[in-house]
Symmetry: C2
DNA sequence: GTCTATAGGTTGATAGAC
DNA sequence: GTCTATCAACCTATAGAC
């Protein structure tokens, strides 16, 4: 897949991140130990510590990989004409641009509520950035319930993912359901 | 509030459960130790182990406290006429019957994805029961996407709770947004 | 019912040889 | 870059005095 442009000659690093994301999602951040990750990779803890200074550093790298997506959305919003359907168009752009990688990130977030909040406190998460998007998409006079509803429109993928737990729904099913939900949630009838 | 009918003369037990739920929600099941819970109660670990045989036993008691809610919903559904709007009526009944206690339970579930799945594997969770509700509310010919959409209608409180993270929205705001979402998600337009 | 003391295991992280 | 060996700190859980 050739997508490790950032650090040339460090395929081990991205291998570690791939496995770590998988285990953190499956068992939770605290539930998956450094040893678990190392063994899944066929190496020892110490070797892993050569590549990452700490367990938190792995987490940070995992987030860094995916942080500028919301920035892109923000830039796009600023170029848009301020039509009444701006909320719907923006939310749909977000939902429609959801690929396998972002889905994996959302699965991770669902499995790690407390950790995500710890990151939010540090200002390193991407979720708090969403407030900014909504600020620009909604008029300044918007009420708390209106903002909440807008947030739900953006979060519909996450909601669909949650609803799909324990079912046989495919990723395509999830994304289709999310899109439909976003449309309904941005309906001003 | 006098709601410990089940075990007379065991207020300590319910006090432990109250604090445990709070800490498990805040820091996650693995993130909150038995010692943390004991200290928050002003007692030692050992005293706590007098009341509960294990950490998992606390978790089990926490779930047991809230498991028959879906059974009640199921019984209610069976009494209903099979009108076309049965899905909406049932989902709204669920959302409208959401009180502070169930909200707390949902916050817990959000903070403990992996633990909830471990419980689901044991068949002790209440989430898998929801599949049964949907089976009876939807025609047998319903497709996977249709079932997914129905599940989202029931999960709207959870979704609103998730959207409200990091905002100033009150519980009332969350419930109002959830209701609205449920209405929209059960709209056959 | 609550305590002290402790067992027995796992965790994240480090030192240093190769 | 990877290893063995080790550490201090934490965990769940138990034994036994009061």
């Amino acid at each position: 897949m050739e997508n490790d442009k950032r650090r040339p000659g460090s395929e081990t690093r991205s291998e570690i991140l791939r496995v770590a994301l998988e285990l953190f999602t499956e068992r939770g951040f605290e539930g998956a130990s450094i040893r678990d990750i190392a063994e899944a990779l066929g190496m020892t803890k110490s070797s892993l510590y050569y590549h990452f200074a700490s367990k938190d550093a792995i987490l940070a790298a995992l987030m860094e990989n995916r942080r500028d997506e919301v920035d892109d959305l923000l830039a796009w919003v600023d170029e848009q004409p301020r039509t009444p359907d701006l909320l719907r168009r923006t939310a749909l752009r977000w939902v429609d641009s959801t690929g396998e990688e972002r889905l994996q990130g959302m699965r991770f977030a669902h499995a790690n509520g407390p950790v995500m909040q710890r990151l939010a406190a540090d200002g390193t998460d991407r979720r708090s950035l969403f407030g900014t998007v909504i600020d620009r998409v909604l008029p300044g006079s918007a009420t708390v319930p209106e903002r909440l509803r807008a947030q739900m429109a953006f979060d519909s993928v996450s909601a669909a993912l949650f609803a799909a737990q324990g079912t046989t729904a495919s990723d395509a099913d999830v994304l289709a359901a999310a899109r439909e939900a976003t449309v309904h949630l941005t309906d001003d009838a």
